[in-house]
Subunit: 70 residues, 6 copies
């Protein structure tokens, strides 16, 4: 009966990669807890970087600040 | 005070159908638990089929596998 | 393929009422969009009133303020 | 370790406003509970008005009904 | 930057099993999309069976109906 | 019309602190985007540390590993 929601930023999130995530997390739940893949739902949300914050900044700015300058 | 989130795949999810879902679930909460429609929020997320997995597969592939072959 | 999450405060949220919500919302999705009940998941979260805010106040205080005095 | 999800309708939800929300809510969690901004994630979902219901109606209709007629 | 939410029913959901899910899904995101484990958050919600519906029934009833009688 | 969900671990999450979060985030949305507090809902989920993962570990272990020893 599991339901899994994965939120990621868009880089590299192709249909192929999404299929790998769906397959991988479904297998993980089957292997770890014996969950039935037929009732395991996975929903992937791709979130634009301007809508994701970390360290108090949108992630694009956060990454620039971290790789930061000088 | 209810908050309801409905996630569906895109087929047939027109503005009219969404309005029916909003109306129906709000009435259900009022009828079942006496919840006030004025504080009942409903958010509908339409999720692309490549981002929804079931049975370890994206739903398009899952449907093809089920209706499957031969 | 729908997934529905219903968040409510605890008053009256018995197992019987939850079963009514599960049945009602599953039927609504079948009737409105032809969704298959076998792949319709409903998760109900009961949220303590101290953890739910409305009008900038926890809901208990909000209700007192609304019914308010004088 | 906080995770915050903010759902809003689209009016005025520019990148600048989103950055203000990210900054503001991260500071609020640091000030109130001593949460570390480096592990505070904020995800903002912009939800189309046809997909948000209040009072049993999509919000556009709800607003028209409230400002209502005559 | 990923955020993962896993909802499961309580059977077998021990601290050890939760740690396996956390480790497994974090590795999956690193391997598949190169996501940094240091910013990968996983939240596991254990949902009572009376609060989870499938096929229009609470899951306990659903399982009884499926294993069904003679 | 905003809906805000805040997930935090349990340390220090008293009713008073929750009320501060509810008030603070509601004011933030009013100030930043002009959102009406009367339709701003905030739900706070307190998540046990064994159910929250970061860096591939449950947060208790993660914190021990970080503060870690010599």
């Amino acid at each position: 009966m599991p339901y899994v929601n994965i939120k990621i930023t868009p880089e590299g999130a192709t249909a192929e990669k999404k299929a790998e995530l769906i397959s991988g997390v479904t297998q993980l739940l089957a292997r770890t807890l014996g969950k039935n893949p037929e009732t395991t739902h996975v929903v992937i949300d791709v979130v634009e970087t301007e809508s994701w914050g970390l360290g108090g900044l949108p992630v694009d700015e956060y990454r620039r600040a971290k790789s930061g300058g000088g």
